[in-house]
């Protein structure tokens, strides 16, 4: 355990690993004898009490938006849009969208309710790590995810 002379300047530092994948915001907080201690530029003036300091790194996250875009013909089908296995927009049609951590979605075009064909719902899985820099990010934020149904498939019955 490190010790420091009372009244002296103590420098606190951290160096992130060169092979780290995530991006982080960092903060430093210290207590002395259980009370908050002033930290200035990662340095403290040693008080006459035991000091505990903590560097906290918080992973930077960003939202991933998935948009359903049906191209080519008038498909009444409904789709569940998922991010990392979590449904962000259930039963949406053309133009439907969902955002991770956000329940907002919109319906228009052929997204006409359930239409009695829930078994027809397809799931669009997006493999994406929500941490910035947390590869792999198969579908980056703000990209459009498009599924083009095969024109030769059988009609869907309700």
């Amino acid at each position: 355990m490190a010790t420091a002379s009372v009244g002296s300047t103590v420098n606190l530092a951290e160096t992130l690993g060169v092979s780290n994948v995530g991006s982080y915001t960092a903060s430093l907080a210290c207590t002395a004898g259980g009370s908050p201690l002033t930290v200035t530029g990662n340095t403290i003036t040693m008080p006459n009490a035991a000091v505990t300091c903590t560097f906290t790194n918080t992973g930077v996250t960003n939202a991933v938006t998935v948009i359903k875009d049906l191209a080519g013909f008038n498909d009444p089908g409904l789709f569940n849009l998922l991010v990392n296995g979590t449904v962000v927009a259930p039963n949406v049609g053309d133009g439907g969208q969902g955002t991770s951590g956000n329940d907002q979605r919109r319906h228009h075009g052929n997204g006409d309710g359930n239409r009695g064909n829930r078994h027809h719902s397809r799931q669009l899985h997006v493999i994406a790590r929500l941490r910035s820099g947390g590869l792999p990010l198969t579908v980056p934020a703000n990209s459009r995810c498009r599924r083009r149904p095969s024109p030769a498939r059988s009609p869907i019955r309700g």
Binding site: V6, S8, G22, V51, T54, F55, N57
Partner: protein, 51 residues
């Protein structure tokens, strides 16, 4: 006073206290690391970089 030269010394020992540096991760990517360092002219027994 003895029949000899006398030398007296006041000794002031500077107070010290412990400094502990810890790490907290929030929403971290598994496997990511960091090295922690405590330094200063009046710091002793600072352990090597920890993760």
């Amino acid at each position: 006073m003895p029949a000899a030269g006398v030398t007296c010394t006041f000794t002031n020992t500077r107070l010290t206290n412990s400094v502990t540096l810890t790490k907290s991760w929030v929403s971290a990517v598994p496997g990511d690391t960091t090295a922690l360092v405590i330094s200063g002219d009046q710091v002793t027994n600072a352990a090597g970089p920890g993760h």
